[in-house]
Amino acid sequence: MKFKHIALATLLAPVALLAEEATLSSGDTAWMLVATALVMLMTPAGLALFYGGMTRSKNVLNTMGMSLIAFAVGTLVWVIAGYSIAFGEGDLIGTGKLFLSGIAADTLKGAIPELLFVAFQGTFAAIAVAIASGSMIERVKFSTFTIFSALWILAVYAPITHWAWGGGSTLNFGEMDFAGGTVVHINAGVAGFVVALMLGARKDYGKAAIKPFSPILTVLGAALLWFGWFGFNAGSEVAADGIAASAFLVTMVAGAVGAIGWLLAEWVVYKAPTLIGGASGVVAGLVAITPASGSAGAMGAIIIGLVGGVIGFIGVAKLKKLFKVDDSLDAFWVHGLVGIWGSLATAIFIASYAMKEDYNMISQLGSQAAAIVLTIVYSGLVTALVFYVSSLLTGGGRVDEETEQIGLDETTHGEKAINL
């Protein structure tokens, strides 16, 4: 949302924003109520299904459970301390809003109630750690992941958010990240990769065919993610105005061409466009447009999303094999790698009407790169630390061999995905 402050004045400024005394806009508030609900839906429904459908039948519930618990625990730590760290006062770290102290129902943030802004940003924190869960499935302990979720949001997500959107200028390099390309996607992708590395590969990885439970769930999940992403991107404008409309349209376009890109790539390589590929392409396209959603035009979105879909496929089908890391549901490749593309592309594809006169692409690319590197380094290191602590607290982060082989649904949850 950083970029918003730069570009806003040149565009449609909602009247209220310029008024001397801030007043609540019921239109903006109406939109943000909905946008928050949309982003909320992404985690316990969208991601739970998207990931659950790609998991083996013996672990589907466990995978869905991780999205659910990520949202539950994430929400709790967010209102207790996460929001304060991310959006409290301070240069390197925010303070002063623990337990949401000082925020009443009539406290405003721009033209909307701050309590609503708290909720909106909380849904981002929760989905970030839920995205990372995709790298850990079928072997991480449920207890370990639960603790990890809480710690990661406080120690990794909230600080990075503070630097990008909430705080001072020391660690803000002027990057354009309208809706969380760096903050959410690169961050979560890197975190997932690091944990996958620490956990080690699943026993069957690379040996047996790992069949996804049901592409039906994955497609439905991707559709719900897309639906929610309108809140994610257009909601990041925090107003119902022309930029929100533009962000909405490019979100629609990028998801569409992301699917086309991935399917075309699959068709060239395997002669078979898969549903899981189409769903993954939607997500890749959406990841790619996220940082650019407030600045790119529809034609830029076509390129960003299409390339995003192709890069996602290449990452998953080719580059992944160069590493030995069992990033099980490809959080790094689909969110991290494509997120990097999106962040760089943000500096390149800007709608003519959104570009400032003195815009310098090279220097902006530098800002983007700096933010990417900061995120990778910080997220990589602190995630490792946080996961190490979470493992210690739960007697090791990985289930035993027999549990892995029987499946976590039966062993951890005492349930079965489907009883015919």
Partner: protein, 113 residues
């Protein structure tokens, strides 16, 4: 009494059933199985991986008949209806049954069929 077990291609079930009924066979039991044999499985694709599915869906039909003649009739009916001439058409196994009981009536052996 004889038991006939036939492994056939799933989409031939309806044809085989009709052929059997026409041949006078009025009872049978069907189950879904997976076969491994000469027939090559298709490939499935999953996010950057293509793998061959070696076990191919098949249907197993079990029929118990009272006499060898009936067995021959049933075998002929199945063989004809299930044949496509392509690899994977399946096999028919015949074995011996010692006794039969119809639960509803307590009838035994031939009468139970």
């Amino acid at each position: 009494m004889k038991k006939i077990e036939a492994i056939i291609k799933p989409f031939k079930l309806e044809d085989v059933k009709e052929a059997l009924v026409e041949a006078g066979i009025t009872g049978l039991t069907v189950s879904e199985v997976k076969g491994y044999g000469r027939q090559q499985g298709h490939s499935e694709i999953y996010r950057g991986a293509e793998y061959v599915v070696e076990f191919i869906p098949k249907i197993k039909i079990e029929i118990v008949v009272s006499t060898d003649e009936y067995a021959d009739i049933a075998i002929k009916a199945i063989a004809q209806a299930a044949k496509t001439g392509k690899i994977g058409d399946g096999k028919i196994f015949v074995s011996t049954i010692d006794s039969v009981l119809r639960i509803r009536t307590d009838e035994r052996n031939e009468e139970a069929l």
